[in-house]
Amino acid sequence: MFLELAKRNLQRAKVRSLLAVVGILIGVMAVSAIGIFGESLKAAVVQNFEEVANELIVSPNFQEGYKYIEEKDINRIKKLPNVAEAIAIKSDSLLIESKKKKSYAMVYAMDEKDVEEMFEAEKGAIRLKNSCVVGKRLAEFVEIRVKSKITVGGKEFRVAAILEDAGARFDINPNSAVILSPEDFEKVSDVGYTMLIVKAESLEKVDDVKREIEEKINSRDEKVVVFDLKLILERINEVFSQINTFLMAIASVSLLVAGVSILNIMLMSTIERTKEIGVMRAIGAYRSTILKIFLMEALVLGLIGSGIGSVLSIAGGYVIDLIILQDASYVFQLSTILYVILGFCIGIFVSVVSGLYPAWKASRLEPIEALRYE
């Protein structure tokens, strides 16, 4: 009955109620749509990192006097549970000479299949048998092309491929480097393994693998240092969450304005219905009943505004994602939908809180004063 009463009272001043609903609607839409966009943005960035996020980088602990990773340790790590793959890398800084120029550059020793898996060739094909692949920047600097010959550490190799720019990477960066097969590498350098890229079976297993490595390999001496890229992912998540909260806080200002408008129309309504309140009190309504009746009205306004606002926010988020990220698929993720629910709840909360003061004021009216009101 109180719900029915609330509905009819709101219908009494249709335009006024409509405006209040529009206010809440815009507020909820702004908060939720921005929430959706922020979450989508995060999802898009995280997606780019997810490919490498299950990687751990094992390096020798220089501070404890370990220059290389021992081969037996590499084999032990490869056999650990939850390890999908481990790529052992040797690297040394060697003199590179082409016909025209020479330069010191990083030279990596890797298996051909690992190179193929990790990098793309821009020109030529990745072949490491008696040949090498060269990073794009180095190729430009020493002015070589595919099939050119270069000397690496005094030995001549044919350039089989020039790699695509790999962008910023956390493990190894081939842009200014040469990659040789392990056999060829041994001919030019006698260094040991300088890095081990370990891939966990899944993101969730990263911590397990990290702990296992530290337990097994570092049981007596701190021989290796393990760095997990998941940490970076976590930092990104954190930063984007902060940005999102900030954006939503800005959007909340519109909800605040909507709240003030509800407060305003309900205060007007309280004054207009003073006599009615007096009558209800005279015929047996408790103060708390009056409070309920008015709060119900605020709640109904909030429910309608937040409901429509939530639906529109999905549309809004869709459009923003489409325009800015060129991909609207992020809108339908669970985490983004949570923002819709959050917006809905905030909308209702704001409505009810805004209705609280007018409702309290209405409930405090003395019946005799209220009845006399004209």
Binding site: N9, E276, M280, R281, I283, G284, P367
Partner: protein, 228 residues
């Protein structure tokens, strides 16, 4: 048994510059089942008196007992319950809730008392039938004449079976015919169902309905007249 007892009641409105004694030491009783008409010119304090009896207002001094209960010690909720369960109000301007239909208006006091839907609907229909409004049940106040609205108001006042019916100029806004109908319904409640009626008016033609007529002037009882 006395259902209303007033003992040396004062109601004084004070402002910074002057004070008005709306009620100036009133003592009176109303017996169960009595029909009391309170008359007096405007400003004589009759409405103030009715408001005190209806627990809508508190006296500045003196005691008001309703159904044997001293009201000055009651808190707001207890006063609300007393109004809800013991007193029915009929106002000059009907004071129906404009958004509710006749039926819903009559149901309202029962909602406040916590009756279930079926029970209160049945009783509200019965009450509306008893005031001759079976066909207007689903109309809103603005779709009814003044007389019809006042009859809805009577039905609403009777919803929770009150012991006392307080009527403040119930025919003040009605034509003679509608006013007569309304008065007959009120009289019927008093005679047949034993509801105590206290009616305030300055229309002397209503005096004939009462068992007793109390005249007020300047907040004091001027005369008490028993109608035989």
């Amino acid at each position: 048994m006395k259902v209303v007892e007033l003992r040396n009641v004062y109601k004084i409105y004070r402002t910074k510059y002057y004070e008005v004694r709306a009620l100036d030491g009133i003592s009176m009783d109303v017996e169960d089942g009595e029909f009391v008409v309170i008359m007096g010119p405007s400003g004589s304090g009759k409405s103030t008196l009715l408001n005190l009896m209806g627990c809508l207002d508190k006296p500045s001094e003196g005691e008001v007992l309703i159904n044997g209960v001293e009201t000055s010690n009651l808190n707001d909720n207890q006063l609300t319950e007393l109004r809800r369960d013991t007193i029915g109000f009929i106002f000059q301007t009907y004071n129906l809730i404009p958004t509710l239909t006749a039926l819903e208006n009559v149901e309202l006091p029962m909602i406040f008392k916590g009756f279930g839907r079926e029970e209160r609907e049945e009783r509200a229909k019965e009450l509306l039938r008893s005031v001759g409004l079976e066909r207007e049940m689903n109309r809103k106040p603005n779709e009814m004449s003044g007389g019809q609205q006042q009859r809805v108001a009577i039905a609403r006042a009777l919803a929770n079976n009150p012991k006392i019916l307080l009527c403040d100029e119930p025919t003040g806004n009605l034509d003679t015919k509608s006013g007569g109908q309304v008065m007959e319904i009120i009289k019927h409640q008093n005679e047949e169902l034993g509801v105590t009626v206290i009616l305030v008016t300055h229309d002397s033609s209503l005096a004939k309905y009462g068992d007793r007529v109390i005249r007020l002037r300047d907040g004091k009882i001027e005369s008490v007249e028993h109608v035989s």
